[in-house]
């Protein structure tokens, strides 16, 4: 019990001292990344961005440590344990890409109670004590239909490829797509499969449903599934419809090849994996004593017909089109909020 009291006392003390130390340097502060999943190209790019940016920040003496931890299989229970371990390891801030918006709240609250700054991004947490850097996933879904409205004025049948069932990102994007479809009134979703944001899964799922589908005008996606869908259409010997892409390098490359060969037109939208670096700097700014609003919204990254070549050239093989944030970018972002 004594240790708890001591801990609370020291937390209270450090909190009361905080205003005195405004702009105190954060060079001895430690930030940890709690990541729930690493099994696709987006997550790998996200971790890469974090590592590159974190190592630079440590080398520059801006921060004491920027360690990344990933759980094996997108499991809430493991991530909760991981956050609890971080509390014990004495990190000053925890940046989270969460497996579930609600189910980690118990662990997040424990972290907050221990005086730790919690910043969530992409997969956000709803605990009121945490900061959230959210993506408007519903708007991302709707933007696909907006594009189709322009491109296919006559409307037509759509095939929807969804993400991982039960994950809120999947629900949000899909809800956005369905709202868009309802509003436009020209389109009809004739089939829906789960591609789990992975090309191989998407290819199998699309191949399975294709024989039962009428002519498809366009495929709406969630990212990481466009290339697989294209392969499935090709294998079935059906004309490849307009497939919305998700910024993955293989998708952009395929699009470029089609564009050069037959003038194929589409668009690509997803969030930049470099959002992890934004979360990093937001945590650093909070540690630095800055006041930051609890809810922030980050824009999504879109690739169009005209800037395809430029964006593709900047994307590494097997990676995802990316934007990384520096401290200056992050400060600018926060000033605009």
């Amino acid at each position: 019990m004594k240790t708890v009291q001591l801990m609370i006392a020291s937390v209270a003390l450090s909190l009361s001292l905080a205003p005195l130390g405004v702009l105190a340097d954060t060079s001895d502060k430690k930030i940890a990344l709690s990541n729930n999943y690493a099994g696709n190209s987006w997550r790998q790019a996200m971790l890469n961005s974090w590592q590159k940016n974190g190592q630079q920040a440590v080398a520059d003496g801006v921060i004491g440590a920027a360690d990344a931890f990933t759980t094996a299989e997108n499991q809430v229970t493991e991530q909760a344990a991981q956050i609890q371990n971080m509390i014990l390891q004495g990190y000053d801030a925890i940046v989270i890409n969460a497996a579930s918006p609600d189910a980690l709240n118990g662990a997040v609250q424990q972290a907050c109670d221990a005086g730790i700054i919690v910043v969530s991004f992409d997969g956000i947490v709803t605990a009121p004590c945490a900061w959230r850097i959210a993506v408007d996933f519903a708007a991302m879904g709707q933007s696909q239909i907006d594009y189709l409205n322009e491109k296919l004025p006559k409307g037509g049948n759509l095939l929807e490829i969804r993400g991982l069932a039960g994950v809120f990102v999947d629900d949000e994007i899909s809800a956005g797509i369905h709202t868009g479809v309802k509003e436009s009134g020209k389109f009809k979703i004739t089939g829906s499969v789960h591609g789990d944001w992975a090309q191989d899964v998407a290819q199998k799922a699309v191949a399975g449903i294709l024989p039962s589908l009428p002519e498809i005008a366009a495929v709406v996606t969630q990212g990481g599934d466009g290339y697989g869908a294209a392969q499935a259409f090709k294998a079935a010997g059906r004309p490849v419809p307009l497939i919305i892409m998700g910024n993955r390098q293989d998708e952009l490359l395929w699009w470029k090849e089609q564009k050069d060969a037959n003038g194929y037109e589409t668009m690509s939208v997803s969030i930049a994996p470099g959002v992890s670096t934004l979360a990093f700097w937001v945590a650093q700014q909070i540690l630095d004593g800055k006041t930051v609003a609890k809810d922030l919204v980050v824009p999504f990254l879109r690739v169009d017909q005209h800037d395809l070549e430029e964006k593709l050239a900047k994307t590494e093989k097997g990676g995802v089109a990316n934007v990384e944030y520096s401290l200056i970018d992050a400060k600018k972002f926060l000033a605009e909020m």
Binding site: M1, V4, V76, A80, Q82, N85, S100, V167
Partner: protein
């Protein structure tokens, strides 16, 4: 005093736990406190319950590949029905236990392989959980959260709960008379049947017991996380099997150890923390966890060989 292989074998779970615990204390002295132990161990309680559920099934020489999904369903019921209309929630949970008992009866009567039935059920459970809670959310009843965050004096609640449960189940299966029959039904079914005991009854009892522990696992889990998610416990399936085996159980039926299973579950929980404290890169953590498992099981195999010699 020389240790016989048999004794060494039953001590192995406790020894692997001690090694991991001492290593953690050494790496991160902060954990050596009430606060630290509480944080380190509180997620072990649901895993321990789920492991006991798996152990019940392994006792009768079956394997449950659906327990993770089942715990998820219970967690979803706990975060929705149980909170909004407690009576309906309790009924639903009783229904879950009953369906587990029915599963046992089905497997026995139709002589179906349990792996196939429970694997099929795992998809059913996941679908059911998604129907109850299509997207993560809901909230655990206040009382449940209060129990799980209850601060007992001197020793963390989790440790007390784990010990009580382990001893209780140990008494139930290893000491009581009917417990012997239940284990016998897994180890040597034909002789138990010839002695006049109903195999159907033993199987239904063990499956119902597994259902009870599954419900306890789901409820303690949702009490800790404060809200539900259909995917919350999918990993429990393999974790519980590993826990039972780590704790000295075997796939032959009848050879189980409830105390060992609880220790095994705690050891597995701590392995994750241990690797995190070691600062092992995320890419290696998953592999390292498997490595530790193989190490302990290899040790077991060596002891087993010494035993048969």
């Amino acid at each position: 005093m020389t240790l016989s292989p048999r004794m060494f074998r039953s001590l192995l779970p406790a020894m692997s736990l001690s090694v991991i615990l001492i290593a953690i204390f050494y790496l991160q002295p902060r954990t050596m406190s009430y606060f630290g132990l509480n944080l380190l161990l509180n997620l072990a309680l649901p895993i321990a319950f789920a492991t006991l559920a798996q152990m019940c099934i392994i006792t009768v020489n079956d394997l449950d590949l659906g327990i993770g999904g089942f715990v998820g369903v219970v967690a979803c019921i706990g975060a929705t029905l149980l909170n909004d209309s407690p009576l309906l929630g309790v009924l639903a949970l009783l229904g879950c236990i009953a369906s587990y008992a029915a599963l046992g009866a089905l497997i026995h009567l139709r002589q179906l392989p349990s792996i196939v039935v429970t694997l099929g059920m795992s998809f059913f459970w996941l679908g059911l959980a998604l129907m109850i809670l299509p997207r993560p959310g809901g909230s655990a009843p206040q009382w449940l959260h209060a129990i799980m965050t209850f601060k007992t004096p001197y020793i963390p609640f989790t440790i007390i709960a784990l010990s009580v449960v382990a001893l209780l189940v140990h008494w139930m299966l290893k000491v009581s008379a009917y417990g012997t029959i239940l284990r016998g039904a897994g180890g040597n079914p034909s002789s138990v049947e010839r002695a006049g005991w109903s195999l159907l009854k033993t199987k239904v009892t063990m499956y119902a017991l597994a259902g009870c522990f599954g419900v306890l696992a789901g409820l303690t889990l949702v009490g800790l996380t404060t809200s539900g998610d259909a995917n919350i416990a999918l990993r429990y399936t393999l974790l519980t099997i590993a826990g039972v085996i780590l704790g000295g159980g075997e796939f032959v039926g009848g050879r189980i150890s409830p105390i060992g299973a609880v220790l095994g579950a705690v050891t597995l929980t701590l392995t994750g923390s241990f690797l995190a404290f070691l600062h092992i890169s995320p890419d290696w953590q998953i592999g390292a966890q498997g490595g530790i498992l193989i190490l302990v099981l290899a040790l077991r195999a060596i002891i087993n060989r010494a035993e048969t010699r």
